[in-house]
């Protein structure tokens, strides 16, 4: 045990050999969130409309301002324009009024935009036009009684940040693990491990423990940034740390294994980086996996990030989804497999002469 503690201490002392890399690994996800949170999708869209001339047209513009959430933002910010030059749609679309008094039409002309933007613009115009239709139908109009799950619409940045916390832990572990391990080969210090009578498990355990804790630190930095920017804080810091620790161990195992196989810092870093982002994007990064297509959900179930997000979810939203026990077991299983893989490669390298 004493040897292990000494090794662990040494692992932390290694921090001094790569301070900039540690700083990047620990603070970069928080910086990434801070920058991205400002450009995330917002429900309110600017929509250009030609300046209304008739009462009906004025009514549509007025109703456009009413489309929105009763417990959140409005969805349309109408921008009145006089005309457009040629085919240059500076707002992506333009609503023009056409037809005569008996058959008035709001024509939505799109610029060169993609189908997702078309969908968003189209749905918003339909919502405003439906409000007008409902008014004309009076008591025959169908009212939709909205029963949302939470008392208010939660800003997307809360979910996005929460789903980034496993990435933060994973990335820190992977980058620093890849760097430190590959350096052992570049500086030929791995030779000392080969000559040591100590079992490989002690070295690997000390390294992974330290990488796991570094991952926790990176995740906690992000948690604080999310808390201060959105006001959302988890109900239990202890649980958050445990989840982040598991993700840090998984990232550390990926980075360490990449370093052991490639033995050069740059390619090992590349592999650690690519896998961290891949598992993040496929691991419920933009929404709960079950809300997307079948193939995405199936693939997501293979990513530890998905289970980490499902475990973090009740801590942030105060309400559970699915089984926490299943998520916890899968995360532990992923952790064990990755530790085992790292041990195998560590052992393989140690036995090389």
């Amino acid at each position: 045990m004493k040897r292990f503690v000494l090794l662990l201490r040494n692992e932390f002392v290694l921090f001094r050999t790569a301070i900039p890399v540690h700083m990047i690994g620990i603070f970069q996800p928080a910086l990434m969130f801070s920058l991205m949170a400002l450009v995330l999708v917002t429900p309110t869209f600017d929509m250009q409309v030609t300046t209304p001339q008739t009462a009906l047209e004025y009514e549509l513009v007025s109703l456009m301002e009413q489309v929105g959430s009763p417990i959140g933002s409005t969805y349309i910010n109408p921008i009145l324009v006089d005309s457009i030059q040629g085919q240059e749609f500076t707002g992506g679309q333009l609503i023009e009024f056409q037809g005569d008094d008996r058959n008035p039409t709001a024509l939505q002309r799109f610029g060169l935009i993609d189908s997702n933007m078309v969908k968003n613009f189209r749905n918003r115009l339909t919502s405003a036009a439906l409000l007008m239709w409902n008014i004309s139908l009076g008591n025959r109009a169908v009212a939709i009684r909205e029963l949302p799950w939470l008392p208010r619409d939660i800003p997307y940045s809360v979910y996005f940040g929460m789903a980034m916390m496993p990435l933060a832990a994973n990335l820190a572990g992977a980058l620093i693990g890849a760097f430190l391990t590959a350096q052992e080969f570049e500086f030929n210090t791995f030779m000392e491990l080969r000559l040591s009578p100590m079992p490989v498990i002690v070295f690997a355990a000390a390294r992974l423990l330290r990488l796991g804790l570094t991952g926790v630190l990176s995740g906690l930095v992000l948690m604080v940034v999310i808390g201060f920017t959105t006001g959302a804080w988890p109900t239990s810091i202890g649980w958050v740390m445990l989840i982040l620790f598991a993700m840090g161990i998984i990232g550390g195992s990926i980075g360490t294994t990449a370093g052991l196989i490639l033995q050069k810092t740059l390619p090992a870093f590349l592999v650690g980086l690519a896998l961290s982002f891949f598992t993040w994007l496929l691991g419920s990064a933009f929404g709960l996996a079950a809300g997307f297509s079948g193939p995405y959900e199936t693939t997501s179930r293979l990513m530890p990030n998905t289970y980490a997000v499902e475990l973090l979810f009740p801590l942030y939203y105060r309400i559970g989804i699915g089984s926490n026990l299943t998520a916890l077991l899968f995360l532990l299983l992923a952790c064990m497999i990755m530790i085992l893989v790292t041990m195998v490669f560590f052992r393989h390298e140690q036995l090389k002469t």
Binding site: I24, G92, N123, D153, I154, F286
Partner: protein, 371 residues
């Protein structure tokens, strides 16, 4: 010229020694593209349970609307509606097996016929405001279609739309062009690092510092090679986009090379500063690669920004990718000449000249400063 060619061949030999790093422009963008294709390329219909308790015809007609109203996104219905009993639906909802539950109450038909303020209940998840927004505005499409089907009086204002092409461009190709630009940027960055790694590990920067000739002889072949392999990475991505999604810039390919090449030169200039400086080498590499990936996300990698320029933050405009991305989409996806071509090229030339001149001058000064 002969001296340049000798150095160029020597650099090429070094490049061949590290094939994994050379894949820096391929591996991360490929994984990112696969992830986004799975995320946004599949069926994006909201899975909802529909509980039809109505005894009459109107409930069934409303139910049919769920399958009939098609979203432009992937040309599939907005909703994947599943018929369930109220108990089944609420259980599925609680376990997040469905995104929402629509309950058509008993007597729905009668309320419509008698003008007795018919209503339906819509339960939905609002854990993020974007999905909540979709539930609300999708429901308008369903009700609009329902009114038309049951022959209600025409709306006071009809709606119509025009799209400038016969086929609509989907979201994944838009992201794919962003990834292609990321590929050129990362390819150039990783290759300039691969080409300076040898000097770092062998401490050859000292020899450079003592060289009697201009350091441009050392740096220019590296820049040219890194640019070349960055463009090769991006072109490979274009081939993938063509084979997979069917978009190809055609005669505009040189425009793609020009815009993405100028963008790559900016990153090379930035990377070369760290690439030839001991101490900060790996930290510099990590920082620049991560910056390029962040710029992909904040600089229009995931969607057209020309129409949301006011939402783009000031710091995004400090990187050439943000300026180049939409003109590149014009070339690749719409085969149209960008309206802002001249100004974009001018800006990108400015970015690359600034970055390369500062990068090379600063690096040369540092290398010459022998301690």
């Amino acid at each position: 010229m002969k001296r340049f060619w000798i150095l160029f061949k020597s650099e090429f030999f070094v490049w061949k020694q590290d094939p994994i790093t050379a894949l820096g422009g391929i591996l991360p963008p490929a994984l990112i593209l696969i992830a986004f294709a799975l995320l946004f390329g599949g069926r994006l219909s909201f899975k909802v349970a529909v509980v039809n308790q109505d005894e009459g015809l109107m409930g069934s007609i409303l139910r049919e609307s769920f399958d009939e109203v098609i979203s432009p996104l992937n040309n599939l219905p907005y909703y994947l509606a599943l018929d369930m009993s109220l108990e089944e639906a609420m259980n599925a909802y609680q376990g997040y097996e469905v995104e929402g539950v629509w309950v058509i109450p008993p007597g729905f038909t009668r309320s419509i016929e008698q003008g007795d303020s018919p209503n339906i209940s819509m339960y939905f998840f609002n854990y993020n405001d974007d999905r909540a927004k979709n539930h609300r505005i999708y429901s308008a499409e369903i009700i609009w279609n329902f009114y038309k089907k049951i022959g209600f009086p025409s709306p006071p204002l009809e709606i119509a739309e025009e799209y400038p092409r016969s086929v609509m461009v989907d979201w994944v190709p838009v992201i794919a062009v962003g990834v292609a630009l990321l590929s050129v940027s990362l390819g150039s960055i990783f290759n300039i690092y691969a080409l300076t790694n040898k000097e770092q590990t062998s401490k050859m920067t000292l020899e450079f510092g003592l060289a009697p000739r201009s350091l441009a002889w050392v740096l220019v072949p590296k820049v040219v090679l890194a640019l070349f392999f960055g463009l090769v990475s991006g072109t490979l991505f274009l081939v993938v986009i063509y084979a997979w999604l069917g978009f190809w810039p055609g005669n505009y390919i040189w425009g793609f090379w020009l815009l993405s090449g100028l963008t790559a030169l900016f990153w090379i200039g930035l990377a070369i500063v760290f690439g030839l400086q001991a101490g900060n080498y790996m930290a510099g590499a990590i920082a620049i690669v991560l910056t390029a990936i962040i710029v992909f996300f904040i600089g229009g990698g995931l969607g057209l920004i020309r129409y949301h320029a006011e939402d783009v933050q000031w710091y995004s405009w400090l990187f050439p990718n943000t300026h180049a991305i939409d003109p590149l989409r014009d070339l690749v996806l719409f085969n149209a000449w960008p309206v802002d071509w001249d100004i974009t090229v001018a800006k990108l030339i400015g970015f690359s000249i600034l970055s390369l001149s500062i990068g090379i001058a600063y690096t040369a000064r540092k290398i010459r400063h022998i301690r």
